[in-house]
Structures are given as C-alpha cells and as structure tokens.
Symmetry: C2
Subunit: 128 residues, 2 copies
DNA sequence: CGGAATCCAGACGGATACTG
DNA sequence: CAGTATCCGTCTGGATTCCG
C-alpha cells in the first residue's frame, strides 16, 4: 500500500500519489457510472489482471476514494463504489475525457465503444 | 518515446498515455505559469533528475503539448512552453489541484510554498 | 547550459495455483 | 465469486558520469 507523505510541496503532487498510475483514474471513471462488482470491472477493463485490480482498488479504498461493500452470501458478492469524496473528482475526470476526445479528433485517433466525454454530455442532457 | 495507440477504448486511456506518470502533469502545471528554461524547471521541481526532465519534456513535445525553443547562443538557452492544446488542459489541472487541496485539508496534510489551486484562484481575482 | 550514456533497484505486470 | 500467494520477467525511474 502506497503511503502518502505527511507534507507536500504542491497539491498536484498529492493528487498524483492519490490517483496516479495506470489504472486508478480509469477505475474511478467507471465507478462513477455506478456501483460495480469485481468481475464486472474486469469485463469493463479486460486488460487489467486480477492482481492489479485488487491492488488498485485496495489503495483507492485505503485513501478513502472508493468504498468496498461485502455481502455475506454464497457465492460472495462484493460491490465497489466511489465515496462522496471520490465522486467529487468526477468533473475533473470529465474534463480530462473531453480534452482527450478533442485530442483524438485532432490527431485522427479512433475512439471506441466506451463511455466518453461526449456520451456523458449527451446523457446529461437526456436527463434534464 | 512512448507511442500512442492508433485506437482507444476510452478517452481516459488516451489521456493517461498523454499525461500519465509521475512528472507530466506537474510539468504542465508549472509551464502554465509561463515559459521556463531547463534549469529553471529543475529548481522548481528539485526532486526530478535531468534524465527524467529531458525525457518527459521530449514526450510532451512529441505529443504536441509542449513547445521547445532553442536560442542559438553561448551558453545555449532552451525555453519550454505549453502549446495551445497543452494549455487547454489548464482548467483540468486546476480542478485537480483544488480537489487535492480539499483532500489535504480533510486529512490534515501539510501543504507548502508551492502554487496551489487556492493561490491560483487568489491570483486570478487579483488580475481581474 | 542543456543535455546523452550507462548502470542498477524497485515497481509494474503476467502466469499459475490455491481458497473460503 | 472474489479474491491470495508466489514466482518471475519487463520496464520505468533514479544516480552517476561524461560531453559540446
């Protein structure tokens, strides 16, 4: 488990320690859609291994960005969701996504089935 | 040099490839304050080694987020700045910083001299 | 001043086997 | 189903030295 420092020069450094790395932002993004089970996340992100998924979810949980709920059933069911604080990151993730979309368009990079910034926008206006 | 994929599942993945890692977000954040020379960046971020600084700046340049300008003088002078597109990420970085500040406050983490989201806010209202 | 080259440790990530 | 445990290779990042 990655320990935070007791002191930071700049908030950006803290943010990098909290959500840096290859998977965390992606996990938070997908969890913002709604609660997800372990294997549901694996299907959503096929490239991640069980080991990495467990590890990253545990760190997010440890830093209070993700909540892990265990239902004592057989077979066991575990549901992951963002905490209120983790959820507060959503506008930022959304901004990142939009910026990424713009970059992809500018550079002619193909974007696939996944939930993108534009989809999100469309979805929001559908709701209103 | 990290090559981008020709196709992405999700814009977030593209964004991670563009500005992921330990240094890029921090560099873009500092470059948004204004153009900076190589050793100026080193002083701003004392923990980064020359190798990493060069490497990360080159990748940012290669992806069109940072511009590198060489002045043919003795001693040589090289100035780095954000491109227009790199600059478009600023609101996102600002949002990250604010969120990080909130986290630090919530968790009682000390924040130091560096340019933070709040400082930025203060600065903007000073200008207006 | 602004790098490049080299070497090395540790983090990251894959495969496989096992478990309540 | 939702993990743990272990082994192992790759690869990123850090320290140091050298260079025009």
């Amino acid at each position: 488990m990655k320990e935070l420092q007791s002191e930071y020069q700049c908030a950006i450094n803290l943010v990098i320690d909290l959500i840096g790395g290859k998977w965390k932002v992606l996990l938070l993004w997908h969890l913002n859609e709604g609660d997800k089970r372990f294997n549901e996340l694996r299907r959503t992100i096929p490239e991640i291994t069980k080991k990495m998924l467990t590890q990253q979810l545990r760190e997010l949980e440890g830093h209070g960005l993700v909540k892990r709920t265990v239902f004592e059933e057989v077979p066991p069911r575990v549901v992951y969701s963002t905490t209120d604080f983790g959820h507060r990151l959503q506008p930022v993730l959304y901004g990142m996504c939009q910026w990424g979309d713009d970059y992809a368009e500018k550079e002619g990079i193909q974007m696939n089935s996944c939930w993108t910034g534009r989809d999100f926008m469309k979805n929001k206006s559908d709701l209103s």
